[in-house]
Every structure is written in C-alpha cells, then in structure tokens.
C-alpha cells in the first residue's frame, strides 16, 4: 500500500503559493499540525498566536472580515470544545470564510482523553452555516483545501498528519457532498469516514470472499449531508446499514445517517460503529481501534449481526488482506 509522508505539509505550501489572501494561524502546535513548511515558505503569512485558542479564533474572524482567508491550525479537541462559543459567535454566525483545520481526530493520537476529539463533528454539526469535511487518505488531504476554499462560509476539516495511506487515485479528488463509491453491493451498505475507511476496505475484501455483497461508501462531507448516492445505498440493501466512524456514535456520521434514514422512511436496520458513548484513553491507534470496536473485525461482526449468521472468518482470511500500519505504532508520536 502506498503511503505518503506529511501530505498536508507539502500540499499546503504548493496550494497557497498563488493565494496571497491565505494566512495560517497556529497555537503553539506548528510542527505538530504540519504548518512548519508553510511558516518557512511564507513567514509573512504565518501568525503564531501562542497557547491562546479563544483569541486565535477572534483574530481569524477579524482577518476574514477584512478579506483574508485564515486557515486555523491546531488539534481538533482545542478547535471545538475549547473555543466553542468563539467559533459559534465569531465564525459560524457571521458566516465567515475561516477554515478550521483540526488535527488528531478521534483515536489517532496516543495522547489520551485530553487529546482525543471524539465529539468534534457532533459539536460543530449543530452550528448553522458550518461545513464539515473529513479526510480518509492522502488524496483527500491533498484535495480538501480546494473544496474548503470553494465554500462561502466556515469550514471544519478533520485532517490527517504524518504517514497517511493513499487509498484513492490521485486524479480522483475529494468532492463536496459526494461520497466515494468503493464497492457496489446489495446485502449491506457500509458508510465509513476518516481512518475507518481503510479498516472497512479490508473488512469488505474479506466479506466479499465470504459471499457477502457489500455496498461501501467513503463519506467525506459530514455537513451538509444531502448526497443522493448515500440515500440510494441505504435504500437498496437487503439486510441493513452500518456506519463506521472515528468518533462518538452520537452526533457524527452514525447520527446523520440515522436522521436521513428516519426522515426518508428507509425501513432498514442500522448499526453504528464508533465510540459507544464513552471516553477513551491513551494508547496506540491499533490498540484503541480494536478496544473500542472501530476496526475491521468489528465491522465483520456487525455484518454478521445484520445477516444473522456467522461467516467463520479466520486469521488466514485477514492475513490475505494488506493492512496499513502507521509509522510510529508502538511508540509515542510527538504531540
């Protein structure tokens, strides 16, 4: 599997080259949010705001009111919980073109409960005017800025850093409000987002071998959520729908799909994989995803629940599908 090292770091520098209105704000996590290259390339467009996120949001709002396009970089937890009122009143309400780039979504950090953004989508989804995007691979990371740039209002991006797998062809960019159809099937629909898509791809390969027909969609636009492809997928499958997200099952992808299915009257079962209304703790990504039921095996179990039979998946079946092992697994990545 191809992996890309620090795709955002390199992409942002190239992307912002001919966009003088683009400025970057950072709250003492410049290297950790991969904007050190931007700082070196465009020192006049980089603003260190210190460990003061509330003020950083206000400064971003002021810059946006004057025609700049601020890309605010910090960890997703601090961009949401810590500055919720500031984001609501100074960014979302006036519908300003502020781009909130949130790093370490969900369990992608060994930093433990203080660093794990498990409710960021839920929090920002209830803010009017807000658009929410989530990256699932290097191609998403490299193309999400164009999408954010095109939105005439605030955008929150769940961003990936470090070594990121490339799951989707480079020529196939992230598109606003359009899920990627990764496989077509009629038994179960799997809607995955973020890093769960890589897990779901492996599970889907195993499931197909067991004769299960899987419709697999990768969702990158969590708000607005009006994609006809999603509606079609959840409507046509025989057994039911499974959502899989690196987030609480409350308020994120699982909730938005449940709302859609209920509103349209899709009479299918829905299983929501994700954090089951629990906080997590510090550990490796692989350990946490297994512990909290966000990994490929959890998806197979959920499919078994829907179809009502055991598929008898063995270790040999798993060994046959390639897994992405992020660099630094087993060691603590720099926070």
């Amino acid at each position: 599997m191809e992996t890309v090292l620090r795709p955002h770091a390199r992409n942002l520098v190239a992307w912002a080259k001919d966009k003088p209105a683009v400025v970057v704000l950072s709250a003492d996590l410049t290297g950790s949010c991969e904007v050190d290259d931007f700082k070196a390339a465009y020192p006049d467009r980089f603003f260190s705001m210190g460990m003061a996120e509330q003020n950083m949001i206000g400064f971003a709002a002021g810059l946006a009111r004057e025609g700049f396009e601020p890309f605010v970089h910090t960890f997703a937890v601090f961009l949401t919980r810590r500055v919720y009122d500031q984001v609501a009143m100074q960014v979302a309400y006036p519908c300003l073109r502020v781009r909130l780039i949130g790093f370490l979504p969900g369990l992608t950090t060994p930093g433990g409960v203080t660093h794990q953004a498990i409710d960021d989508v839920a929090l920002l989804r209830v803010l009017p005017n807000m658009t929410i995007l989530e990256c699932g691979d290097a191609t998403d990371v490299e193309t999400v800025l164009d999408v954010a740039h095109s939105v005439p209002g605030p955008v929150y991006v769940r961003m990936l850093r470090g070594e990121v797998p490339r799951l989707f062809p480079k020529k196939d960019p992230l598109r606003l409000g359009q899920a990627r159809v990764l496989s077509v099937g009629t038994d179960v629909a799997v809607l995955s987002s973020g890093i769960c898509t890589e897990e779901a791809l492996r599970a889907a390969a195993v499931l197909r071998r067991q004769g299960v027909s899987v419709e697999h969609l990768h969702v990158s636009t969590l708000k607005p959520f009006r994609d006809p492809t999603v509606l079609e997928a959840v409507s046509k499958v025989r057994y039911g729908v499974i959502t899989m997200e690196n987030h609480s099952v409350i308020g994120g992808l699982g909730s938005v799909v449940a709302e859609l299915m209920a509103e349209v009257g899709v009479g299918r079962r829905l299983i929501r994989l994700g954090l089951q209304d629990t906080f997590a703790h510090g550990g490796s990504r692989a350990y946490l995803m297994k512990e909290y039921g966000l990994d490929a095996t959890a998806l197979v179990r959920a499919v078994e629940t829907l179809i009502g039979t055991s598929l008898g998946v063995t270790e040999a079946d798993w060994a046959s599908v390639e897994a992405f092992v992020p660099a630094g697994t087993g060691q603590i990545e720099a926070l």
Partner: protein
C-alpha cells in the same frame, strides 16, 4: 437647521452630545419602565468624545430609520458587520469602531442619534419584535459591527481586523469601547498579549471603568484592580483619566504609542447626572422602577435636563 456644532468648540459639542445621551436614555427608561440606565450615565462622555472628536469616521452609510431584521447571515446573505455601516464607509484612511459591551446598546443608539447618524424615531424601535434596534445589539444593529454579546470576544476580533489592516498597509485606526467587567474574562488578556506581540499600535481601547457589573460592584464580584498595572504588564500603553472630562478623554488619543496598543482607563460614575440612581447602588446593571414615587424622582431629573438643554 444651523448646527450649533459649527460655532461651538469641540469640547462643548462633546459635552452637549453627552448630555443628550443621558437625556434620551432616561426618557426611554421612563417611558418603558426600565432599561440599561447606569451604562449611559458612566459612558456618555466617552461615547460622545469618541464620536465627535477621537474617531475619524466618514458619513453614516446606514438608513436613518433602521431596516427591520433582515435575517441572520449565511451563504449568499452577506450581512456580517452590517451595523458598522452607521460608522461610515470602509476606507484605508478611516477609523473603525468595535463596540464590545453590547448591553450598552441603548446608550450607543442615543449617541448615534445625537451625532446625526440615526433618526430619533429609531429609539421607538428599541427592543421591538422584528427590529434591528435590539436591546443587546448584534452586528445588524446600528453602530455595532461585531456580534459581541458574549463578552470579551470582540477585542480579539478587533485585533484580527487591526492585524489585517496593518498587513494591507491601511492607516486608519481601530477603536474599541469596552467595560471593566470584561477584564475578568481570560480572553481579554489573550487579546492584549497578541496585540502587543504584533505591535498593533493603531488599536485604541477605551474602558468604561464604572466599577459595576451585573451582580454589583466589580470589587466584590471579582476584583480586577490594579487595572493599569495589569494592562501595562501585558504590553499596553496605559492612561488613566476622569471618564467624564472630555479634554482628558481626548488627550491620550493624540499622543504616540509606538509598538503598543493604547488603553485608556476611564474612571466613571455609574450614577453621573441621575442622582436617584445612587439609592439603588450597588445593583445598577438594569433599572426597573419599583414604585410611582421612584418614577417621579427620575421624571424630575428628566425635566431638569430638558430645561438645561433647551
């Protein structure tokens, strides 16, 4: 109408506007049985001096009779900062005004009327359903450019506007009016730290230090003193003045403060000009008349004001 401002000196004009602010707010409160009165008493000279002498603003771009509420901002509804139209056009050389404690909105609307940027009838729309002349105004309300009701946030937005103007090479200044209670918010100090760090010396902050907040005296709710020493320690150029002395209010704005934001601590009296208010101390945040006798005492003050102002 031949404006007296054409012949009177600026300080007389500022004092006349300040007296008009108190009179209009008292008149409103009497007519409606309640309102934010002490804020007008403490801030009248500050607002009057800002609008008549300190700020370089162009003519109002807003309608004299405010529009009804146009809806909230959204994609394709570019209403952000609409209330700022009353503070003149956006121009590189002109100043901007960020009004932070929007609970003072009634005093601000009275100011805009006194300086000819708003029709007197606008006060009749105050706090009426569907109106933009809201009790705690937002950025669609006359004179209010930033939705500032969650206190201390506007200072950071002013910092961002000031930084943007510096990047664009604009020469206009950014003025902020705020209250002393907002010094209790941590974000205030984050904003000051950042303004000093980025040497935003085209920012000028006037603080109405009236010593009052919702629960009562600031010193009993959560003491913020010594304000001046704290502000200086955060990198501001600080002046402390009598907030009812228009000459003293103007002086700091005319002195250079290279590399540092200017902060003027205006020591004010929240009962200034309306003596019956003193009986309510220390609860002055919002006044609602308790008896007809109390209302009569305020009515007598209004009559004195009207006689004095002609």
């Amino acid at each position: 109408m031949q404006s007296p401002a054409q012949v009177e000196c600026w300080s007389d004009a500022a004092r006349r506007v300040a007296a008009g602010i108190r009179r209009r707010v008292l008149e409103y409160v009497l007519r409606h049985g309640g309102g934010y009165l002490s804020q007008a008493c403490s801030a009248a000279e500050i607002l009057a001096t800002l609008y008549t002498r300190i700020m370089r603003l162009g003519p109002s771009q807003g309608p004299m009779i405010p529009r009804p509420f146009p809806g909230v901002p959204g994609p394709g509804r570019p209403l952000a900062g609409w209330g700022g139209l009353y503070n003149g056009p956006r121009s590189p050389d002109l100043d901007r005004f960020i009004f932070s404690p929007v609970h003072y909105a009634l005093a601000l609307y009275a100011t805009l009327i006194e300086v000819g940027r708003l029709a007197a009838e606008a006060l009749e729309m105050f706090n009426q359903d569907g109106s933009t002349v809201e009790m705690i105004g937002a950025e669609h309300s006359p004179g209010i450019e930033v939705t500032a009701g969650s206190l201390s946030q506007a200072l950071s937005v002013a910092g961002g506007i000031a930084l943007a103007r510096k990047l664009k090479g604009e020469t206009g200044r950014v003025w902020v009016f705020m209250s002393d209670g907002e010094l209790q918010e941590g974000q205030t100090w984050e904003a000051l730290m950042a303004m000093a760090h980025y040497r935003l010396d085209h920012v000028g902050i006037y603080i109405d230090a009236n010593g009052q907040q919702c629960d009562g005296r600031v010193e009993t709710v959560m003491d913020v003193e010594p304000i001046a020493a704290k502000l200086e320690a955060f990198g501001a150029c600080v002046y402390e003045v009598d907030g009812h002395d228009v000459e003293a209010l103007v002086a700091p704005a005319e002195r250079p403060h290279p590399g540092r934001p200017l902060v003027v601590i205006c020591r004010t009296d929240p009962c200034r000009g309306i003596e019956p208010l003193r009986e309510r101390a220390p609860k002055l945040h919002y006044v609602r008349f308790r008896s007809e006798a109390e209302r009569e005492a305020y009515r007598a003050v209004l009559e004195q004001m009207e006689a004095a102002q002609g």
